[in-house]
Structure formats: structure tokens, C-alpha cells
Symmetry: D2
């Protein structure tokens, strides 16, 4: 049983600088007949931000897939839909590493509209590395963790990767 | 702050009969380059099952949208990805109403492979009704709740809505 | 250069019995902020119908992928969006084999609302088999073609695979 | 009957400067179990490029939707899948206005990998404006056409809108 209670992001806490931010635009493909972003599509954007963050650390999914058959998968995820987003809006999606263990990483993500007081959507999730052919878990390669933690040490200014 | 800790489904508890079940098939569109179902796509299936369940109770999204501009939205969601699913597999997706309040309903959902000992993916989520033009919350219409609760009373056999 | 002119379906011709038909339902995931089905999503439904048709002939994508690394891909496609579909509607998607060559198959597909005089969306497309690791074309396995053509010979009644 | 034969892009003709280009990245969400981009997803990228092009001309879907209930829809489309794209690749998607009539615009689009001799995927399509509540066609607003044609006159250097 995943103890979600221990991993729920505390939205009232002032947010530190995220480890990575990227811009996304809301296109027709992202919306539904309710006129807002379809709830599952926020997960696509969160994945794009994680992938771009890992790429900025020198890691690419495709290389790990082709060389060792290992993929990073989401183990569990809690997401809080606070306010909707609409067609044509430009949003910012953040990634913050909360905890990096050998078997899994805990991440906070949020999406917000520039200028707003609070985020539209927040999530906390765990990713892990698995051998995709067998589903067997394996450790997240150490060099990625090392680089991720090293990059956190730097008091980097917020830079947007568009 | 959503208290996810109070709503996490207890996976070890024997599962009662769900209020609704539907079959889904894994098509190419659902998978990703890792060879398994893309994590966000389980949410699409869970929504299909909720929609079919509501339809079986006499409720249609489109009618509520066109007559009163009200839509049902997901407020928050926790999902636990236990095991992956692959291309061509046929799965069953369940919906169970846990708690029906005026402002929001709490639901358990799970997806499983027929014959397996446990589910592949489980989720707990809250849905609410909002005026889509303004985003303002409104109560979930009472007649839907009445019918949902009435249907739960019946010790219905598991019937699959394909 | 693909000569699309030779493959455009003639919509005025009375349609023969399709080789396969399946039902699809329009869910929130399929629609966009215009309130209608997002144009790319008709291709997802057409693919589901092709896959179910092939499965009914004893062919499964996953088996061909895992045993020989071969996949069926779309080579080219023309699609005509005549009328839109909306949330909650139930549609029927047809597949008809027009021409089966060794290297590629030509197919007609159409989606229609039961009771309507004409289809909502029609398409003509070519599929081919490729070694996915290299992208190299290979012939579509003969036994599939044999079974597809044999099944066409039967003057089968329209049966819906839900 | 749409006469696709008259609108098929001639791939052998040297391509003039497109009216707009944007970069897209291949994420897990875009791929399928075959390890390549799922065929319907190229249409999503083509739509993003059209939307960004229109935005650069001062047009936004959301404004036209909310002020007049008019949306731009795809009428018909031919797409030619020449070569696949894979996870993590960065591609460029072009839009070229071929013909702007009052009722519909004819567009060429293509996606290519920087440095490649030819495009991966090409398409020719027609878009039109409709009242979304009724499905009734209406003219594409003249000011958009005027700006689109004016921008074509300029012998603009290729600039990538990321």
C-alpha cells in the first residue's frame, strides 16, 4: 500500500525554486468539450517537463531504452486540480526533486499561469526505473542522481526552457 | 490542501462488487515506446468507465452541458501503477462510489486483467460539478445521487458493459 | 509521389458490406473545446477498427511485434470530414479491403451515425508491414491476406463487434 | 466528392519558404509500442503549427470561439508518411498557404528532421470556418486572409517559432 499521506505536497508552504521549468501552450488537442484542458492531459505536460529536465542533466529516455532496455515509469501519483486552463493560454510547468533514493525518486510538479497567485494544478509522484521487457525494477542510474543533486546545489536563477 | 491521506484506497481490503465495470482493449494509441500503456491513458479509461456508469443511471454529460452549462470535473486523484499492461490485452475497469456528498463524490476505480490475483492500477478520486463558463462549483444534481445510491442497494451480479 | 487521385473513395457509389464494423462512443477525451470530436481522433478510431478486424482474422499486432519485430504502419491516408460528431454519440466505424498486394493493402474506412443517410467521415489509406527496428519494408504475411480475402467471399451479414 | 487529385502536394517540387515553422520534440506521449510516433499524432503537431502561425498573424481560436462561436475546422486532409520519427528527436513542422478562398484555405504542411534531405511526413489539407453550434459554414474572416497574404509577400527569412 502506497502511503500517499506521507508524500502529499503541502500547498501552503512557500515554494522553493523548481529544478526545472518549461512553457506549454494549450492547443485544441489538449482541451475537451467542457472548454477546458482534459484532466489526463496535465499528466502529459508534467511528463514533458520531467523529460526536458532529465535531458538538461544529460539523460535521454531513448538512449537508456536502446542500450539497456530500461525505462523510467511512474509508480504512483497524486494530482490536485485547483483551477482549469483554457484554449490558447500559455502555462509554466515546474519539476522539483523532493527525494532521490536508489529505487525511486519523489518529485513535486505544478503548473501555473504567469502572474497568478497560486498554481492551477499540483502533483506529487514517484518514478522508478524498470527493465521494460520483464517489468523488473532496477535502480535509477547513479550518475543521473548525482547530476540531479549537483544541479540542485547551485542556487540557480529560474530559467525557462521553452 | 487536499488530505489525500484520508482517501487512499486500502488495496489489501477485499474489494466489494463495483458499481460498474467495463471492458477496454489496449490499442496502439494507448501504448508508448516503452511497449506498455502510457501512464496518462489509464485516466482516459477510468473516465470512460465513470461516464458509462453515469449513463446507465440515466445521466449524460452532453445533456447537462447543453441544458445548464454544468460539467463534472475531477477535483483530485491518486493513482497507483502496480503493474503495466501491453498491446492487445483486454482489461476490465471498475467504478465504485465510496461517498456521495452534495458538492463532490468520492470514487474508487481499478483496472485488472481477467484471472489475475490483483489489480494492475488503482485510483481514488473526487469529482464535482461546476458551471463550466465560470468555474463556479455547484451541487451534483440530486437525482443522479439518488439513482446511484439506489442502484448500490441492489445486490447486483457483476455485469460487464462492453 | 503518392497518387492520391487513384485512391480517393467515391462517396456517391453505394457502399457494399464492409469487411468489419465496430461501435465507438464519443467520450470527453475525444472532443475538443469546439464541442466536437478533435479531427486527429477519428484516426484513432479507424485504427481500432482495423485492429479488431485483423484480430477477427487471427492476427494480433503484439504477436507479430514480439516474434518478428514487424509492425503494420500507415503509408498514406486521405480523410474527408463531412460532418462532426459530438459528446456521448455512438458511432459505427467500418473497414473495407479494397486491394491486397504483397507490399501494401488499400483500405476504405468510414464512420457513421446509425440512421443517417450518409457517413460523417470517410477515409482511404494504405497500410504496409515494416521491420520496426530498421524501418525496412517487408511483405504483409500471406496467411493474413489469405484469410482476409477468404472472409470477403462469404456474403456475411453485417455484424457489429462492440 | 473531394477531388483530392487536384490538391496532392508535389513532393518532387523544390519547396519554397514556408509561411511558418515550429519545433516539436518527440515525447513518450507521442510514440506507440512500435517505438515510433503514432500516426495520428502527426496531425496534432500539424495543428499546433497552424495555430501558432495564425497567432503570429494576430488570430486566436479562443477569441473567435468566445466572441462569435466560430471555429476553424479541417475539411479534408491527405497525409503521406514517408519515414518514421522516434522518441527524443527534435523535428520542424512547416505550414505553407497554397490558396486562400473565402470559404476555405488550402495548406501544405511537412515535418522534417534538421539536416535530412527530405521531409518525414507531408500533408495537404483544407480548413474552413464553421459556426460550431450549428455546423453551418461561414467565410474565413477577411482580415486574417489579408494578413496571411501580406505576410507571404515579404521574402521573410526562415525563423523558427519554438
Amino acid at each position: 500500500l502506497v502511503e500517499f499521506s506521507t508524500v502529499t505536497p503541502d500547498a501552503s508552504r512557500p515554494t522553493a525554486e523548481p529544478d526545472h521549468s518549461m512553457r506549454v501552450r494549450v492547443y485544441y488537442e489538449d482541451t475537451d468539450a467542457g472548454g477546458i484542458v482534459y484532466h489526463a492531459n496535465w499528466l502529459r505536460w508534467f511528463e514533458r517537463a520531467r523529460t526536458d529536465w532529465l535531458r538538461s542533466l544529460g539523460f535521454e529516455h531513448s538512449r537508456m531504452l536502446s542500450t539497456s532496455g530500461i525505462g523510467l515509469v511512474v509508480r504512483d501519483l497524486c494530482i490536485d486540480y485547483r483551477r482549469p486552463a483554457s484554449l490558447d493560454e500559455e502555462l509554466i510547468v515546474d519539476v522539483s526533486l523532493v527525494d532521490a533514493r536508489r529505487a525511486s525518486w519523489l518529485l513535486d510538479q505544478r503548473a501555473w499561469r504567469p502572474g497568478d497567485a497560486g498554481p492551477l494544478v499540483t502533483a506529487r509522484l514517484r518514478i522508478a526505473a524498470v527493465h521494460l521487457a520483464t517489468g523488473k525494477p532496477t535502480g535509477i542510474p547513479k550518475d543521473i542522481a548525482t547530476r540531479a543533486l549537483a544541479s540542485r546545489g547551485a542556487s540557480q536563477p529560474r530559467t525557462l526552457h521553452a
